[in-house]
């Protein structure tokens, strides 16, 4: 464990009012000292009000911008308040708060960006067939483009050091599909990337992100996004 340093846990939420209480309570039980920021991504079910009741910090986006832009808003919040580390944590309960500490340790050990991998964890997590195929594809592409042999480049559980936060706050950061292509950008910007085990659970919110037919569109767009990120110039994150 790292003793010093302020940590901000960013939870992007879109219509998670029903599950938020449980997720936040579990998070607090494990990580009492961290600030919890709920980024309400234009919810219509009163997610922001629930978050305030729970005593979370709240950034309330007046429009629905999508997952990546919501995460980015949270990271910008963290940067302005000079947190030592920012953790991105899904609001639908699929991440385990116990996995945060190893990620923060990796950041303390010098990583700019630490990712939680469900494939490094014992007790294997298996998604549907399409998801597994897609993941294998991204993983191979990520390896080809970045040289990073990551097992789970689409992980939403991340810890960001100062330079990782700067990368996520860039105006041209790929905010629509900020998973694998973020890593391409990270590697090209010479950020140190680490991976630690993470235990994923089924989402509490059935209709959450990657479900059903949207998976195909998501896959296509992400491939495109990856290629674009690979074409882009390196980011200058000094100073």
């Amino acid at each position: 464990m790292i003793g010093s340093g302020r940590v901000l846990v960013v939870m992007p939420c879109w219509n998670e009012a029903r599950n938020l209480g449980e997720v936040v309570r579990e998070l607090r039980a494990e990580r009492g000292g961290d600030d919890v920021l709920v980024v309400d991504d234009g919810s219509t079910d009163g997610t922001a009000a629930v978050a305030r009741q729970l005593g979370c910090r709240v950034v309330e986006l007046p429009l629905h911008l999508g997952y990546g832009a919501a995460v980015q808003a949270g990271v910008k919040y963290g940067l302005r308040r000079r947190y030592d580390a920012v953790v991105t944590f899904d609001g639908d309960g699929q991440h385990d708060p116990a996995d945060i500490a190893p990620l923060l340790q990796a950041v303390a050990d010098g990583a700019d960006l630490a990712l939680g991998s469900r494939f490094l964890a014992d007790g294997s997590y298996r998604g549907g067939l399409t998801r597994r195929v897609g993941r294998a594809l991204f993983s191979a592409l990520s390896r080809a483009l970045t040289g990073l042999a990551l097992t789970d480049p689409t992980s939403g559980l991340k810890a960001l050091g100062a330079r990782g936060q700067s990368l996520f706050a860039l105006a041209r950061f790929p905010d629509r599909f900020p998973d694998a292509d973020a890593l391409v950008l990270a590697r090209r910007s010479r950020l140190a990337v680490a991976e630690r085990p993470a235990h994923m659970r089924p989402s509490l919110n059935r209709a959450s992100m990657h479900g059903g037919t949207r998976a195909v569109a998501y896959t296509f767009n992400m491939l495109l996004s990856l290629l674009v990120a690979a074409l882009g110039r390196e980011a200058d994150l000094r100073g």
């Binding site: 950034v59 309330e60 007046p62 308040r81």
Partner: protein, 114 residues
């Protein structure tokens, strides 16, 4: 070019130019876009007056009939126009995102009394 065709296309070109001018006058169309549309309308008028220019262009690019030259450049023009719109839309999307985030962050500052 038969006189019937000339009158028909000339009428269309004039209506188009009037619509453009009216849109600019009512500030519905920003001035920086208006030149493009004025140029488009003027080109139509020019081609009606000087059909030989189209024939000359057809010769130049090696097309067989002037109609295909016309269609080719129309399609090219429309394609470039939509490309331009895509670029502008991308910029607008980014700007809306940044503004939305900024509004939310400022509201958070305000609520926290920071």
């Amino acid at each position: 070019m038969p006189i019937r065709q000339k009158i028909f296309f000339f009428t269309i070109a004039v209506i188009l130019l009037m619509v453009i001018l009216e849109l600019v006058r009512r500030r519905r169309l920003r001035v920086e876009y208006s030149w493009l549309w004025l140029a488009s309308g003027s080109t139509i008028v020019l081609l009606i007056m000087r059909y030989d220019l189209l024939v000359w262009l057809t010769d130049l690019v090696g097309a067989v009939i002037p109609t295909s030259t016309l269609f080719f450049f129309c399609i090219l023009y429309l394609a470039l126009l939509s490309l331009n719109y895509s670029v502008r839309l991308s910029a607008l999307t980014r700007q809306v995102k940044e503004l939305t985030q900024e509004v939310a962050l400022l509201r958070a500052d305000h609520e926290e009394g920071a």
